[in-house]
Symmetry: D3
Subunit: 73 residues, 6 copies
Amino acid sequence: MPYVNIKVTQEGGPNGTGPSVEEKAQLVAGVSDLLETVLGKDPATTFVVIDEVPLDNWGIRGKRVSVIRAEQS
Amino acid sequence: MPYVNIKVTQEGGPNGTGPSVEEKAQLVAGVSDLLETVLGKDPATTFVVIDEVPLDNWGIRGKRVSVIRAEQS
Amino acid sequence: MPYVNIKVTQEGGPNGTGPSVEEKAQLVAGVSDLLETVLGKDPATTFVVIDEVPLDNWGIRGKRVSVIRAEQS
Amino acid sequence: MPYVNIKVTQEGGPNGTGPSVEEKAQLVAGVSDLLETVLGKDPATTFVVIDEVPLDNWGIRGKRVSVIRAEQS
Amino acid sequence: MPYVNIKVTQEGGPNGTGPSVEEKAQLVAGVSDLLETVLGKDPATTFVVIDEVPLDNWGIRGKRVSVIRAEQS
Amino acid sequence: MPYVNIKVTQEGGPNGTGPSVEEKAQLVAGVSDLLETVLGKDPATTFVVIDEVPLDNWGIRGKRVSVIRAEQS
């Protein structure tokens, strides 16, 4: 009966704005498979929730990711 | 001083896109009442945060809910 | 298919250390009922997860709850 | 390797709709500094995620914040 | 720079009290691999946090899992 | 009315098992101050919840932190 929450930044994917619908499908299927394989959890009661976070709202190294990406480009 | 987070899919409600403002009011009041009744918690310091999740971002049974709803209809 | 997370401090209840097993049962049943009544959600896929947080690990008003309780007593 | 999640209501800030980009930068920097100062955590692996919550989706005192703000004004 | 939180009940595993250390290692590796494969995320900044929840603190179908397991056995 | 959740590994601190009570007090005070300074939030309704996560339950680079620490020592 696992609950899995995946948080990613809104970048990458086909439009550069985050995972595509197909990529989300792969994440959901992949996490459900992993929990069934490793722990024997029934996918019928495995929840996966994906949160997409704007680059201004995610920080690392004391900076917003939007700033880090601007420095990298 | 409880904190309650409610995550629901963006479906149902008056427009089929998630809970109405009135339904959110009922969730907030209902959860605050429950915590006061069961645990004696003062509603003054009970927080309720409702997250509405797109159907493509919620998975169960290894599939996105958007796919499950399409199969059901 | 809701997911509800309830966080409470480890106080109150029969031993002063947090909700009893019976109180947890009431929280689980009450939240499931509320989501069924207000949003028509099937309890079969409503998850409720209760986290009990030590008084030293919960802050409000810039102080730990353990300190606030000591000041109140 | 801390993970910090900050949830605030979508109010205040330059447009009354939540924190500005500059204020988010200050939150990210401030939290990273705090964890480095107090616990010696390397900012390189400190994540800060800011969630902005609509006023209809946040409850306190058994009411939505949108209602509380309307009563206060 | 993903953050993944996996919540499972404290059951199963070698002692019936939740995932073993080896199973946790497989979850961490599997989730990191999945995010690298599907989204191209660098494992260096993928966080995985596993929470193990007591059976009395997890509810589904309006009941605690501890009660459901007792009914099943 | 902010809610802040801080997750750290159970290491460091006076006993090597995580933040001391005094360090937790500094985290709570520091976060409350930051939100008051940057966003004008009243500390009376700022919640801070600290979660301490075992080294076997936190992964980065596809490995548990317990393994990374063993490799570093």
